[in-house]
């Protein structure tokens, strides 16, 4: 990169370099076992999730439909038995989402297959990211391949390029998995509505971007702090467990990205926006930390 004289010129050069690195790294990932591993793990997860949820839907779908229809009734329920049944299911489900019954009623409107798949994504995507990207930064340092790149561009471009590449990889993998999910559910479930499912999957896929970015940035941070491949994988797993446990604490849970996961399910737009913003802020902080470490270290 020949640095421009203006700030705009530098930003344009940085973005160009980021894209070049991301493109090269993504193609490299596609040609290696890394992408294959991610796609296989995720597609298998999607398939198993879809299969399980289709079965569940077939068995308790009627009961859920009943609860849904009752939840939508604006007047007080007259049928005593059904009302009790509805209330108990809602209460049981609300326990899983922090006691928010409105949220349960909202979730009940979402096809079970989509619901289950998004839950699986939110639960396992961070671990998949850790598994596949744990050496995002340190592999370049270990092999000293970073030296060939850093003669030509900045450390910021290297970090951002690699992060963008891996983010694109995971977003692509979730798209592939969504397709697997849709194909299976369409084939196996007679009540499957392609239009509604596609619309909801698109929405959840968009929400996966800030969420995935946050955890990818965390992985980048760990990878820049810990040099060894296996050590960074272990450190990543520990960090994820710590973040998950931290989010359960009422007082300091706010400091954990996982605390904001529930907001992505909310029927209220501002809640979703707030959660997405929180993930972006955490991601930016993690990435800044990774950059500070990369900038200050010997390569």
């Amino acid at each position: 990169m020949i640095p421009g004289t203006s700030k705009e010129g530098l930003v344009v050069h940085l973005l160009k370099d980021v894209w070049l690195i991301a493109r090269f790294d993504l193609v490299t990932a596609i040609r290696t076992k890394r992408a294959l591993l991610a796609i296989l793990v995720y597609a298998l997860g999607a398939f198993l999730t879809a299969a399980a949820l289709v079965q569940i839907d077939a068995k308790i779908g009627d009961r859920l439909e009943l609860v849904k229809s009752m939840a939508n009734v604006s007047v007080p329920l007259k049928v005593e038995g059904q009302a009790d049944q509805s209330t108990s299911v809602v209460k049981a489900l609300s326990f899983l989402v922090g006691g928010d019954e409105d949220l349960v009623l909202h979730l009940l409107q979402i096809p079970l297959v989509v619901l289950g798949f998004f839950w699986t994504t939110l639960t396992f995507l961070p671990f998949l990211i850790a598994l596949v990207s744990h050496d995002l930064v340190n592999i370049e340092v270990r092999n000293r391949s970073a030296r060939f790149i850093l003669l030509r561009t900045s450390r910021a471009a290297l970090l951002l390029g690699k992060t963008v590449s891996h983010l694109l990889l995971f977003l692509s993998v979730t798209v592939v998995s969504n397709l697997v999910l849709c194909a299976y559910a369409w084939n196996a479930s007679p009540s499957f509505d392609l239009w509604i499912t596609s619309r909801l999957l698109l929405r959840f896929w968009l929400l996966t971007i800030p969420y995935g970015f946050c955890f990818l940035a965390l992985t980048a941070l760990v990878s820049s702090l810990v040099d060894g491949g296996a050590a960074s994988l272990a450190a990543n797993a520990i960090a994820l467990i710590a973040i998950s446990m931290l989010s359960m604490n009422d007082t300091i849970g706010l400091l954990s990205p996982s605390f904001y996961k529930l907001g992505l399910w909310s029927p209220r737009f501002l809640d979703v926006l707030g959660s997405s913003a929180a993930f972006l802020v955490f991601g930016t902080l993690f990435l800044s930390g990774a950059y500070a470490r990369l900038r200050g270290r010997d390569l």
């Binding site: 000293r144 391949s145 060939f148 200050g296």
Partner: protein, 306 residues
């Protein structure tokens, strides 16, 4: 003097031990500059500092007029030691990527990739993946990426180490061509004859410290010292040349067969003229000259200094 690299007391310590110790030197713009030192002298560490890979603990340096914290990327190239590129990508892919990252257009990157691969005789192997490269091929790949485009400064750490004579010759030709195109080349090598042949300036370091830096002519004494072998002993030889204005000293070996003459600079008189006058004086004194050697080899100088 315009300098491409200027270092001022750079120091790099590992576990408290200085690998590079208050090192100061200047590389003139447009020169081929040799960087010499025994194993462990700090050459590779210095290269890594100049490339911005390592941060010095003390001191400062400028590369192409810019501080180490703001190295002008894309205007310099290097052959880093021990660096490997992506094992799963082909040579062609990797070089195109690096050329584009260097600021070349996609078309230019493609043509430059073809050019440098041909220059290091790897055109037939351009589809070979990084993981399948032999040591020699990997070295040539490293050299190829360093010669992409027209960098103003090229740093080559042991560029011919491990290459066969033919490839080593090709690399030397590439270095000369690069310098002829006004690039500055800093090259480290253990092959002192190669450095003497290739470079016009050199620095010698030892234990991380600068021992000396000068032009090759100065280092080898080519402009100050001549060894004259006499065909037969001639006791009058030394006295015959001592009287000359440019001669500082003249010493005859104990067997009377080798005369070592040191010269000083005399305004209006070149070293060649001084040598001619010396030869004339010797012949007049009745000496028979067998052989003349200007200065001493870089190897001799290196061994004296390190």
């Amino acid at each position: 003097m315009n300098v491409a690299i200027r270092t001022e007391g750079i120091t790099k310590r590992y576990n408290g031990r200085a690998v590079v110790d208050r090192l100061s030197f200047q590389v003139p713009t447009g020169s081929i500059y040799g960087f010499l030192g025994p194993n462990g002298a700090g050459k590779t560490t210095t290269f890594a500092i100049l490339c911005g890979f390592l941060r010095p603990n003390e001191g400062s340096a400028e590369v192409l007029g810019r501080p180490l914290t703001d190295i002008p990327r894309g205007r310099m190239a290097a052959l880093p030691q021990d660096a490997r590129f992506h094992p799963e990508r082909t040579l062609e892919d990797s070089l195109r990527f690096m050329a584009e990252l260097q600021g070349l257009s996609r078309d230019k990157a493609r043509s430059e990739t073809d050019r440098v691969l041909a220059a290091v005789e790897l055109s037939d192997s351009k589809k070979v993946r990084g993981k399948a490269l032999s040591h020699g091929m990997g070295k040539r790949f490293g050299i190829a990426q360093a010669f992409l485009g027209t960098p103003e400064l090229v740093l080559l750490d042991e560029p011919t180490e491990g290459l066969d004579p033919r490839n080593a010759h090709t690399v030397r030709q590439m270095i000369r061509a690069m310098a002829a195109g006004h690039s500055t080349v800093l090259v480290s090598s253990h092959n002192l004859a190669e450095v003497e042949d290739l470079c016009d300036h050199a620095a010698i370091i030892d234990h991380g410290r600068l021992v000396t830096q000068a032009s090759i002519a100065e280092l080898t004494g080519q402009d100050r010292q001549v060894l004259i072998s006499l065909a037969s002993p001639c006791d009058a030889a030394a006295a015959a040349v001592r009287a000359l204005e440019a001669v500082v000293s003249a010493t005859l070996s104990t067997d009377g067969l080798t005369l070592t003459i040191a010269f000083k600079a005399v305004p209006g008189k070149s070293i060649d003229q001084a040598i001619s006058e010396t030869l004339a004086a010797l012949l007049k004194a009745g000496a028979t000259v067998g052989n003349i050697t200007r200065g001493h080899s870089l190897e001799e100088r290196f061994l004296q200094l390190t």
